[in-house]
C-alpha cells in the first residue's frame, strides 16, 4: 500500500464514522432556551470542532506529502519547469500552513510531516510531472470529499480556494506534459 492509499484509507474510515449514529438528531434543533439544551449545543459544537480538526488534519497529511513529492520531483526537473515546481512547492507549503493554523484555531493539534514517505522512484522529467499530476488530483478529490463535512462556513471557502489553486497546478503540469490543460468541465480529482 502506498502512502497515498494509507492517507485516503484514513479519510474513508472517518467517513464511515461520520455515517454512524444518525438517530435522534432532532433534539438539538428542537429548542435553545433552557440551560440543559445550551450545554448540549455547546457539547455538539465541541464535537463538531473535533470533527473539523480531524478532517483538516487528513488533508494536511496529504499536503505535507505533496510537499515532499515536489522536493523529490525537483531532482528530475530543469530550467523553467524546475522554477514552476519550486513555485508550486511554496504554494503547497502555504496550504499546509493555512490548514495548521485552522486546526490550532479550533484548539486542535496540527499533524506534522512524517519522518519519511514512500515515494516512487521518478526516473524522468515526465514521470515526475505525471506523479505530481496524480498527487494534485488526489488532493483535489480529498477536498471535494471533505467540503460537505466541514461545519464552518469559512473553512468551506478556504477549502474551495485551495482546491481551485490545486486545479490550476494540474492545468500547468498537463500543459508542460503537452496534454490538454482543461480536460473536463468539472474538476473532481477523479477520472471522468
Amino acid at each position: 500500500m502506498s502512502d497515498t492509499d494509507g492517507l485516503l484509507r484514513g479519510s474513508l474510515s472517518r467517513r464511515r464514522l461520520l455515517g454512524m449514529g444518525a438517530a435522534a438528531s432532532g433534539a438539538l434543533l428542537a429548542g435553545c432556551a433552557d440551560d440543559a439544551t445550551n450545554r448540549s449545543v455547546q457539547t455538539a459544537a465541541d464535537e463538531s470542532d473535533a470533527a473539523d480538526v480531524e478532517l483538516l488534519n487528513s488533508v494536511l497529511d496529504l499536503e505535507l506529502m505533496v510537499i515532499e513529492a515536489y522536493k523529490s520531483a525537483a531532482a528530475r526537473l530543469r530550467g523553467p519547469t524546475l522554477q514552476l515546481a519550486k513555485g508550486f512547492l511554496e504554494q503547497e507549503q502555504a496550504h499546509a500552513d493555512a490548514l495548521a493554523t485552522a486546526v490550532r484555531d479550533l484548539r486542535g493539534t496540527p499533524n506534522g510531516p512524517r519522518s519519511s514517505y514512500e515515494l516512487p522512484r521518478l526516473r524522468s522529467r515526465d514521470a515526475a510531472l505525471r506523479y505530481a499530476v496524480d498527487l494534485e488530483n488526489t488532493v483535489i478529490a480529498a477536498y471535494v470529499d471533505a467540503l460537505p463535512k466541514l461545519s464552518q462556513a469559512d473553512l468551506r471557502s478556504a477549502a474551495t480556494a485551495i482546491l481551485t489553486c490545486e486545479a490550476e497546478h494540474v492545468a500547468v503540469l498537463l500543459g508542460v506534459l503537452g496534454e490538454p490543460q482543461v480536460p473536463a468541465a468539472f474538476v473532481t480529482g477523479r477520472a471522468a
Binding site: A22, L147, A185
Partner: protein, 213 residues
Amino acid sequence: MAAGAGPRIAIADGPADTAQVAAFERDRRELVRRGLGLGGTAVAASAIPLLLAVRNAFAVTDTDRKILEQAITLEHLAVLAYDRILGGGLLDRRLERQVQVLRGHEQQHAGALAKALTDLGGTPPPPPTGVQAVDRVVKGLGDVGTRADALSFAIELELAAVAAYHDAQPRFVEARLLQTVASIAGAEGQHLVVLRQAARQPPVPNAMETGRK
C-alpha cells in the same frame, strides 16, 4: 451532479443576529456530524433563520435556488462573452480552439446547475442576450478590439466567476451543491491558467485562488 430531490432543510430568509447564525452553524454541523448529509430531516423554516452577507457577488436573501439561478445566469453570460470573442476574429487558431473548449465548459456548467435547480423544484432562468447583459459582471466586452483585450476581458470574467463561487460556498445548504460548485470553481481556475499563459502572465499567482487580485 444534480442535487437530490428528497427532503431537505428549509431555510427561512429574514433578520438574524449573530447568535442565531451561530446556532444555525451548530445545527448544520450537528447534522453533518451525524451523517445525515442535510437530506434526512426537515426542519421548520422558522427555526433556522440565516443571515447572508452583502459582500458577495450573489444577491442577499438567497436560498440554494436563488444562488443557483444567479450562477446559471453567470455561466450563460460567460457563454455569451466567449461567443462574442470567438466571433471577433481576434484569436490565433490555437487560442481559438482553447477558447472554444472554455466556452463549451461554461455551457456544461450552466446545464449542470440548471439540472440541480430543477431537482430543487426551481425553474432555470432564460439565457440573457446582448453584450450589455455581460456588463453586469464585467464591463467592456463591447470595447474588445485586440487579442490582448480579449484575453484581459476573459481573465476578468473567469476571476469574477471564481469569486462568486467562492463567496457562495458558505451559503449553500445542499451538500452536493457544495461539491458541484467546487468542481466548477476548479474548472474556472484551469480556464484562468490557459488565459493567463496566453497573456504571458504567471499562471498561478496565488496559493489561495479566491478570484480576487
